[in-house]
Symmetry: C3
């Protein structure tokens, strides 16, 4: 493939910051500090990699004010308030110039769009994607290949839905018929839909179920990674982000600006406040009304150690009793 190239001057012109160095310098790759070459631009966002600056071979480094001297000592530099954000914006102008990997507006000839669906002319519907009856797809939204948006669901503007995403499959709702002669699950038809705001990105094979009564709602700016499950009637507040393999059960209400790390799970019918951060592989079973970082997973160990501690854990409550008893006894002994 043809690589993207920029001069330092072009980058600076589009993204700002303070440029120190030759604007004619040609940049043909963005690379991390340790693998950058003489035609690369790189960036320092985490202070712990600071010492890599000295040995970095990049033509230019994007750094914050505090690393100005170190950066300039070694070659060209762009000084900016938030180097990581600068890198994000740089990646965007880089991508735009590529001749490949661009979503074309319109409906791919091998897609399926129901005649009653409304797809904005600037939207892109990839091969083998499905947009069912009455669904709406907003401006500049991209459905990559093999995405399903079920009937009556709404996707806002500037969204990206990666391959395999399923929006609006039936929520998991059944009533148990307790009659002993016909003890079985009776389907609750899911009469709601899914409403997704603007600037939402949804990762590969992630599922957002339609509501039972009323809609499942994903607010503006939400970012979902791959293989996530969002249950029926869940509500995800704006700009919240979730890493891969997260599960959000039905009717959970997640606030705005939350982050939920990989493989965590949130039970249904509870509320998580704004600005709550859940660590990886943690299980939320009660509402969290106070912002902060919450964690709950079993620490890994060698198998042999784990086994010993796991056995002990099954008697932990008993151990607590034993200690309480010991405290009483020692009180008696020391008083006698």
């Amino acid at each position: 493939m043809i690589l993207t190239t920029y001069t330092l001057g072009e980058i600076h012109e589009q993204l700002g910051g303070e440029l120190i160095g030759d604007p004619q310098l040609l940049i043909s790759s963005i690379l991390p500090l340790e693998s950058a070459g003489p035609d690369s631009i790189s960036f320092l966002s985490n202070p712990k990699y600071r010492k890599q600056l000295q040995t970095c071979k990049a033509a230019c480094v994007i750094v914050g004010e505090s690393a100005r001297e170190l950066a300039v000592a070694r070659g060209a530099a762009i000084i900016t308030k938030d180097p990581y954000l600068y890198y994000a914006k740089l990646s965007q102008i880089w991508k735009k110039k590529q001749t490949f990997g661009q979503a074309a507006a319109g409906v791919h000839v091998q897609a399926y769009v129901h005649p009653t669906a409304i797809v904005h002319p600037t939207a892109s519907i990839g091969p083998f994607s499905v947009v069912e009856e009455g669904a709406t797809i907003g401006a500049y939204t991209v459905l990559k290949s093999r995405v399903t948006v079920s009937y009556g669901c709404h996707i806002g503007d500037h969204c990206i839905l990666h391959p395999g995403v399923v929006i609006g499959a039936d929520g998991f709702g059944f009533a148990l018929n307790r009659d002993p002669n016909s003890l079985e699950w009776v389907k609750i038809e899911q009469l709601g839909a899914v409403r997704i705001g603007n600037n939402v990105e949804i990762g590969a094979n992630t599922c957002v179920d339609r509501g039972a009564l009323g809609d499942t709602v994903i607010a503006d700016g939400v970012k979902l990674d791959n293989l996530i499950q969002i249950g029926h009637n869940a509500q995800i507040g704006k700009n919240s982000a979730m890493a891969a393999c997260v599960g959000i059960a039905g009717s959970a209400k997640i606030g705005a600006y939350c982050t939920i790390a990989g493989a965590s799970n949130v039970a249904g019918h509870l509320e998580v406040a704004d600005h709550v951060h859940v660590s990886a592989v943690s299980t939320v079973i009660k509402s969290i009304p106070v912002p902060g970082q919450y964690t709950g997973f079993f620490p890994i160990d060698t198998h042999i150690n784990w086994e010993k501690n796991a056995v002990a854990l099954k008697k932990l409550s008993h151990l607590q009793e034993q200690v309480k008893l010991l405290e009483q006894r020692i009180n008696e002994v020391s008083q006698s």
Copy 2:
């Protein structure tokens, strides 16, 4: 979309119960107690929402005998033994009247069905779904969009397979070639298939692998949510239900009427009795011969508390020893 409407009399005629109120009352939505309006029907199934009855604006509420007085005091009511089951059946007649979201019998023009596959004329095969050689799809079964049923697999009658479902991909089977010169995994071809009973529903992007030797079997009435993994040669007993993100490893045998809550995992080559209920995010590694509720996940906490307790947990077995020692010593002290 055109909304569904029913008169109370029509609902009562189709679903029974005791109707108190005007049969001509027009109902145009089913909604929860707190959001119901003057043209809604609502229901009370969980006694803890009982006080919402008084302020509920619904035209009619479906309630049990114990809430009769409260319900009648506020307007029309349907009295029935199991209001939640009544709601389930109401959702079904509601859905049937909708002009959208109905699966059409037949094979969609953009589906792929192998000539040797047998698809019942009443079945519905959605766009970009695949039915391979020798597979059979039963009466009234619906494959939504983008479902794969691999060669030789059987799906019963009245099943629903949601988008992205994969039935009959190869089970995960490899033998290690221990020869140091060619230390590698050798594929074990999966020579079995998948057999799925009647009235089974399978959620979006869920996978049921084909058996290695003999079949993977899902019995009648099983309900699987999204993103579930069923390993090769697993057997799931009738009317068992599993929530999203559950993993069932190979050759596990799950009984009938079990429920497995979200993100739980069951190891391979074990048996779970009928009527076992596994809580969310729990790991079953031994057979469970006794019905009941089983649980095992790390309780979430503030990160700072979790960290302290996680560190302590890695020394729990040692703590147990310490306590045993303390007991011995205090015995000595008190005897001296």
Copy 3:
């Protein structure tokens, strides 16, 4: 479907070992010891099933040297060093003779392959699979139905990608714009791709994300089960195997010959040495430099016991303090 049949002699001729018994014996199924019939071949690989040999009805059993006598006492036998490996190879010749379930070389008429993609003529691209711009698919590689290989990604030779696999969706990368007036996530375009070696098998609905800068790399001989997430810029060493529902976060580097059991998770930016074995449902959050078996999940229990122990666990660090204090006090008491 027409069943595969082999004579014992044909099997022996192709796979070797020591055949004891009539080479003309007709074999029409491979089955486990307990369900084998008089036209079956079976195998004993796990010594704990040894006693099943005596009652096994198979025409022929594949066994190791140590079970020779037992096997011969009951009928025909093939003696080989590694019966499980022999079975794997037998399953392969068995499958090859089947008239169904064979991947045909070439691009299915209902697939989508971009004109700039390079698909080896021996490769098989199934219905509704997508191969984007500049992607390459190696010799004898099979993309079953509904697989996506995104632009610029490379799949080696002799790979199998099961239905629903997504290779090269965007990695999950965003920079937070901390400006309070536009507090939101800014997309980091994922400029790398995915490179997959030879003899790699990837299970249904598994996702391997493209790199942010540089590629995500899956080495030769890796085996991934279903519903796995491989984050951007992860590196998986050769012949490592992962069971279903595993999550590997971005930039994690997994060594060669590792096994990661089902539903385990590995955090990002860390290294796992060669020959590390992670048990099911375990969370790796630090590098593991030493080979061995590592485990970390909460042991399941009856719900009532779990609840007691979970409550105690939230005070475990406090319990540790109490025990320390008790030790001091008992020292004081016994010294007084």
